[in-house]
């Protein structure tokens, strides 16, 4: 045959194939130059002489299933072609990684087992981009990860909530008052009536908020019992949801709170406390620090306080709430009218005219504007 004829026939007939076997037993053949692009496969071929026939198929690592292998080979097939420009390669890569999260993870893992570094980097970067900007909860959802950090490990200041129900109470009182006053303002035109102070006692409000026990001051002890029980329940319920609401945490602070509580390292590396040990520690009532670390926070501090202390704190809260009760109507009035007064006084000084009519006129404008 002439040389040129030989040249035409040659490519097809002489192309060599490599045999690969995935963990599920299935075997396939792949063009040699494509397979050689994988360092692991390359080594098997060159060092061990494997892959040249079906019987000597190269066993691929377990992490490479047929579907993923197919993807990997697509990658190799494209990139092993020498002539391609950087732009082309980049464009291919960008499209290549647009797959669902599960497959992307499988691909990363498989590429790693085949030592295919460029693909490992490509997929790892893609995974990193999927992590960036997300909250821990969102990351867990994306990758189907368990929520298995203990409270103490996650011990994170919760955003905008507090675990001390007394402080929660005060927040609620504040909000309630503000709302009431705003509504009253909307109904009335001009003056705020100072007489409309909430005449309920603090205890009434407390019990109202805590679920209507209707206790009087005298039944303090039982009230506390009920409160504590209720608080514990609240904590049990809320702690889960609150933990799940943790966003943008700075766990750099929280990790070692374990160590404040029991003075020893809480890192996972060291934590594998043998089972019995851990249980006995939990049961050891003397080890309050550890227990209070495991359960949730400030709410339980009350249970360890003596009644005298509780009394004192209760009194403080009462005092507090009383101040709120008495101060708030005035404060709100001030806030709402302050803008007005200033405007009014300026206008009146500017115009030398301080008629009541003008005052009420501007005040009502203010109320209905935002």
């Amino acid at each position: 045959m002439s040389e040129s004829a030989m040249a035409i026939i040659k490519p097809e007939a002489m192309k060599s194939y490599i045999w690969l076997q995935t963990a599920d037993g299935s075997i396939q053949q792949v063009e040699e130059e494509v397979a050689m692009f994988c360092p692991m496969i390359c080594r098997e071929i060159l060092q061990k002489g494997m892959g040249s026939s079906k019987n000597y198929a190269i066993s691929l690592p377990q992490r490479v299933n047929p579907a993923i292998l197919s993807l990997i080979l697509d990658y190799c097939r494209f990139h092993q072609v020498p002539g391609r420009s950087n732009k082309e390669r980049k464009s291919f890569d960008e499209k290549f990684i647009r797959i669902d999260t599960k497959r992307l993870c499988e691909l990363t893992s498989a590429a790693d087992s085949l030592h295919l570094k460029p693909l490992v980097d490509l997929t790892s970067r893609a995974l990193a981009r999927m992590i960036e900007g997300k909250t821990p909860e969102e990351i867990r959802e994306t990758f189907h990860l368990p929520d298995d950090l203990t409270e103490e490990e996650k011990l994170e200041p919760l955003k905008n909530t507090t675990d001390d129900p007394r402080i929660r109470l005060l927040n609620r009182l504040y909000a309630k008052k503000r709302k009431e006053l705003k509504e009253r303002q909307k109904l009335k035109n001009v003056e705020v009536e100072e007489e409309q102070v909430d005449k309920r006692s603090v205890d009434d409000l407390l019990s109202f908020i805590n679920g209507g026990d209707g206790d009087s001051k005298g039944a303090r002890a039982s009230k506390h019992k009920k409160k504590n029980r209720r608080r514990k329940e609240q904590l049990k319920d809320t702690s889960n949801t609150e933990i799940k609401n943790v966003e943008k945490v700075d766990p750099f602070l929280c990790e070692e709170s374990g160590s404040i509580y029991n003075g020893e390292s809480k890192e996972d590396g060291n934590i594998s406390l043998p089972g019995p040990n851990r249980t006995s520690r939990l049961l050891d009532s003397g080890d309050d620090a550890f227990i209070s670390g495991v359960e949730f926070e400030d709410g339980d501090i009350d249970d360890e306080l003596d009644p005298a202390m509780k009394e004192k704190l209760d009194r403080e809260v009462e005092l507090f709430a009383k101040r709120l009760n008495s101060d708030w109507p005035e404060r709100m009035q001030e806030i709402l009218s302050l803008g007005q007064e200033r405007r009014v006084s300026t206008i009146s000084t500017m115009n030398g005219n301080g008629s009541l009519h003008r005052y009420t006129g501007t005040l009502s404008c203010y109320l209905y504007s935002n």
Partner: protein, 591 residues
């Protein structure tokens, strides 16, 4: 992601996640991720050294290579934190020296660093490369000499504004002849003469030098010589930029300077001009089109010269300048300058305008709201503003809000407290409210002028991304503070001075404080009793009271108004290095 996903690969994925926030998020995902992340974290950032102890940090992150620590609260910059308050770096440096021998980078801000610590640092880390000291104090040039002498592979020595006891300019001679690794050398704020020959030799043998910021002792012709040796520089601090005689040009010096600058084809950042001879300024014009950063906050140039230079910088992204008091009746000259900036520098991203004489008795600051509006309207990429001025209006602030909804940082400092809108006499509530409403991405805000509780209600409600808020001489009552603390979901740092905020709001929002890095309140209406209550209820907060008038014999009653209060979350308990006038209130009754 199944459980078979190899840990090394997971670690590899994490290596592409750099930001501290993201790494912290990774830490809170699950046990496995937490362990892997913490074992592989290389860069540690501790925003408040007292939030955590060195031991804790070291134990958690065994693989640290770079550490950034911050000590004193921000208001220390305004002389509100008394001398000796704390912020010592010694304990950290010793602990790190023992536990992290492979540490390469240390960055300290607002900390007290001794010469001994610098000596320890210089000897303990074999691969040490980067030292950045910013607003620090407590060391002298002896400490710097140790660093120069012992850090074999030092690439960055960045001495930003620090209080350095300048013993000798010869510390630079301690860099061995074998040191060729410098990439950044910033000595711009050192006071004394530095050995020019030492600098010259250093520059000559460090081919990778990219940033060189000199101090005032380097004259113009020496600057020119240095630049000829290092045309690869991308960041130059000119030092004094002075030559004698100051008013008359020496032609050969001018030529030398001009060609030296022309040779610096990579120059992107320029600063200095501390004692500038304006007649030589035009020698620098050739680099202006390439400049992206111009820091003239220490420049002694007058406005017209500044404007001429700035208007030649169309690619400027960051501009720091000083406004000047108008000693003549040439009103609005400063505003005109900014208007010119707005026209020439369309790529501007960050602007800082400092007052020339903030504590002085000189004539009042000349800048008005005109300049601010011009800049805001004219520069579409502008996202960060620091602006000192003497007057403002709500309308101007609304214009800023309307034209720059992309603002991330807005710090407005009207020099006189409680200044009203000068056109209407109103508080500036409306203006600032417009800013928080329009700028959804606002992360940092400083307020000034006359403000009522209303603005705080708006900020609390609308400031979703606000992380840092500075308040002075504002508000009417506790409601103001309550609005902030019960709103602002992203708030990390709150600093307040001279506001009528008190106990009720503070205690009602005690839980919020654990979600923040710190709260500073000085000259407000917080009583000692409330601070005690706060400390008792919140064991994970350090409630520090600063009382400079305290004597052992004095016993403050519960209703005594606390002079300065600094509250911060911590897992390290009360600190042990407090001076006598600072006390941390006990978190247990009677302890």
């Amino acid at each position: 992601m199944d459980s078979a996903f190899p840990e090394e690969v997971l670690e590899h994925v994490f290596s592409f996640v750099g930001s501290h926030a993201d790494r912290n998020a990774i830490s809170a995902v699950c046990r496995l991720w937490r362990r892997i992340e913490r074992q592989s974290r290389r860069r540690i950032f501790v925003g408040n050294i007292y939030a955590v102890s060195p031991t804790i940090a070291i134990r958690r992150f065994p693989a640290a290579r770079a550490v950034e620590l911050k000590g004193k609260p921000h208001f220390a910059d305004f002389n509100l934190v008394p001398y000796g308050w704390g912020g010592g770096a010694g304990a950290w440096i010793s602990a790190m020296a023992e536990a992290w021998p492979w540490l390469e980078e240390i960055r300290l801000k607002r900390m007290v660093v001794s010469d001994e610590s610098l000596e320890v640092l210089s000897r303990s880390f074999r691969n040490f490369r980067v030292l950045v000291l910013s607003s620090c104090e407590g060391f002298s040039t002896d400490g710097l000499a140790a660093v120069a002498a012992n850090c074999r592979n030092l690439s960055v020595l960045d001495l930003r504004e620090n209080e350095v006891e300048d013993r000798t300019g010869h510390w630079l001679n301690h860099f061995p002849e074998s040191c060729t690794s410098l990439v950044t050398l910033n000595i711009a704020h050192l006071v004394s003469e530095v050995s020019f020959s030492a600098i010259e030799r250093l520059v000559g043998r460090c081919p990778n030098l990219r940033t060189l910021r000199l101090n005032h002792s380097v004259t113009l012709d020496r600057l020119a010589s240095l630049l000829c040796k290092a045309p690869q520089l991308s960041d130059i601090g000119t030092g004094g930029f002075s030559a004698l005689p100051a008013e008359e040009v020496r032609p050969e010096l001018y030529t030398k300077l001009e060609s030296a600058f022309m040779g610096c084809k990579c120059l992107r950042s320029l600063s200095g001009f501390g004692d500038a001879s304006p007649v030589y300024l035009s020698a620098v014009y050739s680099v202006c089109p390439g400049l992206t950063t111009l820091n003239l906050s220490y420049a002694s140039l007058q406005s017209p010269d500044l404007v001429k230079m700035i208007s030649r910088c169309p690619n400027l992204q960051q501009l720091w300048k000083v406004e000047f008091a108008s000693s003549q009746v040439m009103d609005c000259i400063e505003d005109e300058g900014l208007e010119a900036v707005a026209e020439s520098c369309r790529s501007l991203k960050e602007l800082r305008v400092f007052p020339s004489d903030p504590y002085g008795q000189g004539p009042p600051v000349a800048l008005t709201e005109r300049g601010l509006v011009a800049i805001s309207v004219g520069c579409p990429s502008l996202h960060s503003i620091l602006y000192f001025c003497r007057q403002m209006t709500n309308v101007a602030l609304q214009a800023v809000a309307h034209s720059r909804p992309n603002l991330t940082c807005f710090r407005l400092c009207i020099i006189d407290p409680r200044t009203t809108d000068y056109l209407t006499g109103q508080p500036l509530d409306t203006g600032f409210s417009a800013v928080v409403e329009s700028c959804q991405g606002l992360r940092r805000l400083s307020l000034s002028g006359l403000l009522t509780d209303r603005v705080f209600e708006r900020i609390g409600t609308l400031g979703h991304r606000l992380e840092m808020l500075s308040v002075a001489f504002a508000g009417d009552s506790d409601a103001g503070l309550h609005f902030i603390l019960s709103g602002c979901p992203s708030l990390r740092k709150l600093e307040i001075r001279d506001c009528p905020f008190g106990d009720t709001a503070l205690l009602a929002n005690a839980g919020k404080l654990e979600t923040m890095r710190s709260l500073w309140m000085s000259s407000c209406h917080v009583t000692l009793g409330a601070c005690r209550a706060l400390a008792e209820k919140m064991p994970r907060l350090n409630v520090e009271v600063i009382d400079e008038g305290w004597k052992p014999s004095s016993k403050r009653p519960d209703d005594w108004f606390v002079e300065k209060l600094y509250v911060y979350r911590t897992v390290a308990g009360p600190r042990l290095d407090m001076p006598s006038y600072v006390y941390t209130l006990p978190s247990q009754q009677g302890s």
